[in-house]
């Protein structure tokens, strides 16, 4: 059941921001709707107080993927299907494409938005780990100002972000990575389609003559929210890119996740799996030329 609420679809960002500032407590932005509508159905606490849905899909500029020399921008209404089909993304951000392909089903990907995935900030948000290793930034707009913050700072805790009630995320900005980076994305779900991730990992590796120059690692689902693992990244810097370093890193990965999440009933089987897939992913990326 959808609660009693009103629906508006403003044609401009300005109008949207005005509506938000006038209805601070009660209004919520609607983009793909693939989290909000099921949320209503299960009477989720998170969506109970909404009195007005502000659909931003009629605002043309928010539907675009824009490529610049040094960066690509994803508008707030860009869907996962658009990412899957974008040559720009295939070329510069293959990890994001790979993660987008694992989201839900065709029907979900046709509606769900990348920005929505970040704003919802579920622990299992599939696009978050790739966006984190690509150092994505979030552009946020209110009537009075525009601010840009890193995705990492934007994500605060499960289902909560730095977004204020009177603000809209207008786009995600991703710098084009150094072409020397190789990387991969891994997701483990209970089944192939429409599966919530149990483990997801994104990594980017840049080597110089067999030495790790930069390693970026982000996890999803096993950590409370998608997160970069900076300690591991630092540990890897300037080490040899070989099995023994990767083994050490995998052990560290297990320790780190245990430290973040504490011991859980699932740790006993999840951690060894996590360590193993992380290790394999490192080996795989390292072999790529």
């Amino acid at each position: 059941m959808i609660p009693k609420l009103n629906y508006v679809a403003p044609l401009s960002l300005k109008r949207t921001l005005k509506i938000l500032s006038e209805n601070k407590k009660k209004a919520k932005i609607l983009a793909g709707g693939t989290d909000i509508l099921p949320g209503f159905h299960i009477n989720s606490k998170r969506f109970r107080d909404i009195e007005l849905l502000v659909d931003i899909k009629k605002i043309g500029e928010l539907k675009l993927i824009k490529e610049f020399k040094d960066r690509v921008e994803i508008g707030a209404c860009v869907t996962f299907s658009q990412i899957c089909e974008s040559d720009t993304f295939k070329k510069f951000f293959p990890l994001l494409v790979k993660s987008a392909e694992t989201v839900g089903s065709v029907q979900i990907r046709n509606r769900a938005t990348v920005v929505g995935n970040c704003v919802n900030n579920a622990p299992c948000a599939d696009s978050v780990p790739p966006l984190l290793v690509y150092d994505a930034k979030i552009e946020i707009q209110s009537l009075k100002r525009k601010r840009v913050i890193s995705l990492q700072k934007f994500l605060i805790k499960p289902y909560s972000t730095a977004l204020k009630k009177n603000e809209v995320v207008t786009k995600i900005i991703i710098p084009k990575p150094d072409p020397d980076f190789k990387g991969d994305f891994y997701k483990l779900g209970r089944r192939r389609a429409v599966a919530i991730s149990r483990i997801s990992l994104a990594l980017l590796l840049k080597k110089k003559a067999g030495i790790i120059d930069e390693l970026r690692i982000a996890s999803g689902a096993v950590t409370p929210i998608g997160a970069r693992l900076h300690e591991l990244e630092k540990f890897a810097k300037d080490k040899k890119a070989d099995s023994s370093t990767f083994k050490e890193l995998s052990i560290l990965m297990g320790k780190k996740v245990l430290q973040i999440t504490g011991l859980r009933w699932s740790s006993e089987y999840k951690l060894p799996v996590l360590q193993q897939v992380f290790y394999q992913l490192l080996e795989k990326v390292n072999e790529e030329e």
């Binding site: 009693k4 709707g33 089903s105 029907q107």
Partner: protein, 159 residues
Amino acid sequence: MKKNKILKKIKLRFTLNGEPVELETLPNKRLLDLLRDDLNLTGTKEGCSIGECGACTVIVNDKAVNSCLMLAGEINGSAIITIEGISQNGNLHPLQENFLKFGAVQCGFCIPGMILSAYALLNKNRRPDEETIKEAIAGNLCRCTGYKQIIEAIKNTKL
């Protein structure tokens, strides 16, 4: 329900199975309910209500979507196709013919959604391979057939 909120009806214009439609409806109505209750198009089914089963699949602007995950307001200005709209001059659509021919229908509950997912696929890609077909119907659950006949039916459909 807290407070007595006043619901403002919304006006919608869209095309439905090729015909222009104009109507007013409640702002908190799902597309699924608009189709089934207001427009009496009960070929679109409700299974899980949360985007997992695909029984409610319809086509919006050439794309397969779950109508349980959309509000009626969101289709303003769009072109909608439901299972009722794919037959041609009273003849079953080739996909429907093949679903019958290949024994791909048992209880039938998943079939409207299944066919529309296949319809969206074939309109984009006339000769999909088996993997592509599986991917296209991954969001449609069938508890009866085991999918094999469904995949065969789709694979053998030439538009």
